[in-house]
């Protein structure tokens, strides 16, 4: 019998473990395409990773210290980031670099010991200088920089250039398999210039787009402004995307219904919707209940086509279950935790690199039409707070002759529980069915003012009950005290008097 019990328990444990194994989602393993060797975990590394990811490439990273022998040989493309003069002490790495024959992009201070081919590239140093960049058809504004190293070689006009104190130098130089970029910082202008070099290094020949993204929209945003903005963008032929924080609680509240109604209106005005999980607060809100929040959106006729994430988040463990996005917009926010870095990155088939409107304004196009940068960019703007802000934004877009793309037209695939949303040039599809995004006025009136639903609690009932019971209890206690007094008298009459009677009888005897 005991043996049977042991067998039975073992069987149950075994079954549970098997179920556990079967229950785990079989995740397709992502094979990294690019190896990044870095010296320090900092914002430069974060920006580099964001750019590589924006080109749809997956990454594996290793620090110089942690580099293991022959690692480099598993990759056809390697990027080396070292922005200071500290010599490479890892002998394995030094040896492997000498014999590496794949594509190698070195960013940073010239290190001729580790990269002997750099001897062929003369370097000029400026202790200080006003620099700007020229890439594709763009020239950026001047910024003052200390200590700049540039490639002191005749400029290749077709390539990117760095202009120091009015003198132009090649932004990058290639010697055999080594591409060298001496200057790199975390300015968006630098990164945009670098993206052209990176694109060429990665051998990418895709068409780029530019989209407009309105950040951080949520139920208590100015919904009237969202509608007004949608109308204004629509009238001006500006396709736009709303970054919506998916909320999972109280989705049946009138405020939420009205919010969904507004988003549907924006969709009908050529607006697209993406889930917004960029800042820490938004991530906390949308972390666990992402599926619930997105499902509520879908159920209410709002169709998210991608997700806005932070730069360092792409290096973290993918946090959602039952939710997947093929498209991601990498936000232009500063990092909040470099410790979160892992070894491989989240891959987006369709990635968009977020930049600020200010950067765009600091960039001048040599052509009338602004055109597109070397990678697909998302211009990230706040929801206008006033009509004035709205029309200033529209004027900036128009004056720049921005050719914005409808985000829906880029290929997207979103899976939310059992729902699958697909968007492309043919339209938006939900579970294979083409959706009409035409707006039908919902049951919530325009003039409706949100009144929070009264929360029915038993608090008041209990307060009243408490008082009533206290009065009753008080009365009962008084009654009990009276009863006690009467009982005591009865008791004394019965026993003490009996005792004294007995004593009297004894005395008489």
């Amino acid at each position: 019998m005991k043996g049977f019990k042991v067998f039975f328990i073992s069987l149950v444990v075994l079954m549970l473990s098997i179920t556990g194994v079967c229950g785990e989602e079989i995740k397709e393993e992502v094979i990294p395409e690019i190896l990044i060797i870095y010296q320090a975990k900092d914002s430069n590394l974060e920006n580099l990773v964001a750019l590589v990811t924006s080109f749809g490439k997956t990454i594996e990273m290793t620090s110089i210290e942690d580099y293991k022998k022959d690692k480099i040989n598993s990759f056809g493309d390697v990027i080396f980031l070292k922005l200071n003069d500290i010599a490479i002490e890892n002998e394995n790495l030094r040896n492997d670099l000498l014999w590496y024959s794949g594509n190698l992009l070195y960013i940073g201070k010239s290190d001729k010991v580790a990269f002997p081919k750099l001897s062929e590239i003369p370097i000029k140093t400026y202790s200080q200088g006003n620099i700007s960049f020229k890439f594709k058809d763009y020239i950026t504004q001047n910024i003052l920089i200390n200590e700049i190293e540039v490639i002191n070689k005749p400029l290749n006009l077709e390539r990117e250039a760095i202009i120091v104190n009015g003198e132009s130098f090649s932004f990058s130089e290639k010697v055999e398999n080594l591409t060298y970029v001496p200057y790199f910082d975390d300015q968006e202008e630098t990164l945009l210039c670098f993206s052209s070099t990176l694109k060429r290094f990665l051998g990418i020949d895709s068409k780029e787009s530019m989209v407009l993204i309105v950040k951080e929209v949520f139920p208590f945003s100015d919904l009237t402004m969202i509608k007004k903005m949608s109308d204004a963008f629509y009238e001006n032929g500006i396709p736009f995307t709303l970054g919506v924080i998916p909320l999972s609680d109280n989705t049946d509240y009138p405020a939420m219904k009205r919010f969904y109604d507004t988003l549907k209106y924006a969709q009908s005005k050529n607006g697209s919707i993406v889930a917004y999980a960029l800042n820490k607060k938004a991530r906390e809100v949308s972390g666990e209940p992402m599926e619930k929040g997105l499902t509520a959106m879908v159920n209410n006729g709002v169709y998210p086509l991608g997700i806005v994430v932070s730069k360092n988040w792409i290096l973290e463990e993918y946090p959602y279950t039952n939710v997947s996005f093929s498209s991601g917009i990498i936000g232009n926010n500063p990092s909040y935790s470099v410790d979160a870095f892992t070894k491989s990155s989240t891959d987006f088939v369709n990635a968009t690199y977020g930049i600020s409107m200010e950067t765009l304004e600091k960039t001048r196009s040599l052509k009338k039409e602004f055109g597109t940068y070397s990678l697909t960019t998302g211009i990230m703007v706040d929801l206008p707070k006033s009509d004035e802000e709205l029309y200033t934004l529209i004027n900036s877009i128009n004056e720049k002759w921005l050719s914005l793309t409808d985000y829906k037209a880029l290929d997207h695939q979103v899976k939310v529980g059992r729902n699958e949303i697909i968007a492309n040039t043919r339209g938006v599809f939900l579970n294979g069915n083409l959706l009409s995004l035409a707006y039908e006025a919902g049951p919530i009136e325009e003039t409706y003012q949100y009144q929070p639903l009264p929360t029915y609690t038993l608090g008041n009932v209990f307060n009243t009950g408490n008082t009533v019971l206290l009065i009753i209890m008080g009365a009962i206690i008084i009654g009990f005290l009276v009863m006690l007094f009467i009982s005591r008298r009865l008791y004394l009459k019965k026993f003490r008097h009996k005792k004294s009677r007995k004593r009297k009888e004894g005395d008489q005897e």
Binding site: T457, L458, F462, L469, I476, M483, L484, I486, S487
Partner: protein, 418 residues
């Protein structure tokens, strides 16, 4: 408001509702006691009826001699009552001790029936049926084997029942003989006094209802004949027979002047087993009679059925679920909008409990003391809480017996030498 809120509201109504019922019973008991204290004790007018006193005993050698001796000393005509001791399958020296008692009192109606494991050993009800078969009395009086009744107890019981034809039985009061033995017996002493004040005197005053306590009661022979003796399946035979008397249209009266002293458990383990048996027995009776809750012909016992239902199921489940929800709410697993009652209210409830119980001790000599007041306070946080454990366990045991389709075992309370 959510589902948990509604459950909590129902629980609170149940808990407070039952509390108010008990307050009403305390007041009823008070009225009855004040009335009876000034009344003269009942007296027999005319001929004394012949009475059979039955004492079921199983391994009661420790206490049986003292019990029978006290029965022999009743202030009642010696030729008008017989004592039948059913020595039920005892393995101790009870048979020998009883024989010695018979030899010492050759002229008294003292009958001893010794049974073995074939004829007896099947519980108290079976023993009483055996004794009843040998009895001759017009009235039957039952005493437990650990009782030492006062000399006039029999007289008062008989006088009360022959004075009113509507009475099917009369129950006397029982006191704790070993109340100073341990803290547990002190608790039991207070419990028995307050129980009799509320459940016996209070119910009699307000609803003309009483429950036979299992000892120190008199019952008409005609009733026992009519119901075919005691139900051998009933572990709480006293509650069972009370219901059957009500259903025949008779009343059961409480006469607190007929006093017996009994020995109560001195150890928690013994107490726990005894009370578990009571709970199981009462649950059996409740389930057997639950239909009377809606039977228009059974108005008289409706309150009792409801009272039992409330105590063993409604109050218990209310206490347990409200405690579970309270702790789940604290830990954040569930959310309720229920706000707890104020501390002041809980304090008044505690004061009321202590005062209410203290009142029930008022008429007993030497019980109205400061030490008892403190013990009542202590009971609230210890003894009363143990009740929940006993009830849960008893109900569980009953259900287990039903599932396994086995009869409940009769647990005999262990006695101690005093």
């Amino acid at each position: 408001m959510n589902g948990y809120d509604y459950i909590m509201v129902v629980n609170i109504i149940l808990i407070w509702g039952l509390m108010f019922i008990n307050i009403a019973l305390i007041i009823g008991g008070f009225i009855y006691y004040t009335k009876i204290e000034v009344e003269l004790p009942p007296m027999i007018k005319g001929e004394y009826p012949f009475v059979s006193i039955m004492v079921p005993a199983h391994n009661e050698g420790v206490v049986i001699v003292k019990t029978v001796e006290s029965l022999l000393q009743f202030e009642y005509p010696k030729n008008r009552y017989e004592i039948i001791v059913i020595n039920d399958n005892s393995s101790d020296n009870s048979a020998q001790l009883l024989k010695e008692l018979q030899d010492k009192n050759p002229n008294r109606n003292l009958k001893v029936i010794n049974t073995d494991n074939i004829t007896g050993g099947k519980g108290k009800s079976n023993a009483l049926n055996i004794g009843y078969g040998e009895s001759k009395g017009e009235f039957l009086v039952i005493y437990d084997a650990d009782n030492t009744p006062e000399k006039k107890a029999l007289l008062y019981l008989v006088a009360e029942i022959i004075g009113d034809d509507s009475l099917g039985a009369v129950v006397g009061k029982f006191r704790t003989r070993n109340k100073n033995a341990t803290l547990l017996t002190r608790f039991i002493n207070i419990e028995t006094l307050s129980f009799q004040w509320m459940a016996q005197a209070g119910r009699w005053q307000l609803m003309r209802l009483c429950t036979i306590p299992g000892t120190n009661f008199i019952i008409r022979r005609t009733i026992v004949e009519a119901i075919g003796g005691w139900d051998v399946k009933a572990v709480a035979e006293d509650t069972e027979i009370s219901f059957r008397i009500y259903l025949m249209g008779y009343k059961i009266k409480f006469q607190p002047k007929a006093v017996t002293w009994e020995q109560e458990p001195q150890k928690v383990g013994v107490w726990f087993r005894q009370r578990t048996r009571w709970v199981k027995g009462n649950v059996y009776v409740l389930i057997k009679n639950i239909r009377y809750l809606v039977d228009p012909k059974a108005k008289r016992i409706r309150f009792d059925v409801f009272y039992f239902l409330s105590t063993y199921f409604l109050l218990l489940s209310a206490l347990v679920t409200s405690d579970i929800i309270f702790f789940m709410n604290l830990s954040g697993w569930v959310s309720t909008t229920i706000q707890g009652f104020s501390n002041l209210l809980w304090l008044t409830a505690f004061v009321m409990f202590v005062l209410g119980i203290f009142i029930t001790l008022a008429t007993e000599k030497g019980e109205m003391s400061i030490s008892n007041l403190l013990i009542i306070g202590l009971m609230y946080v210890t003894y009363c809480q143990l009740w929940i454990v006993v009830t849960v366990y008893g109900v569980f045991q009953y259900l287990q017996d039903r599932i396994k389709k086995q009869d409940s075992k009769w647990y005999k309370t262990e006695r101690v030498q005093e």
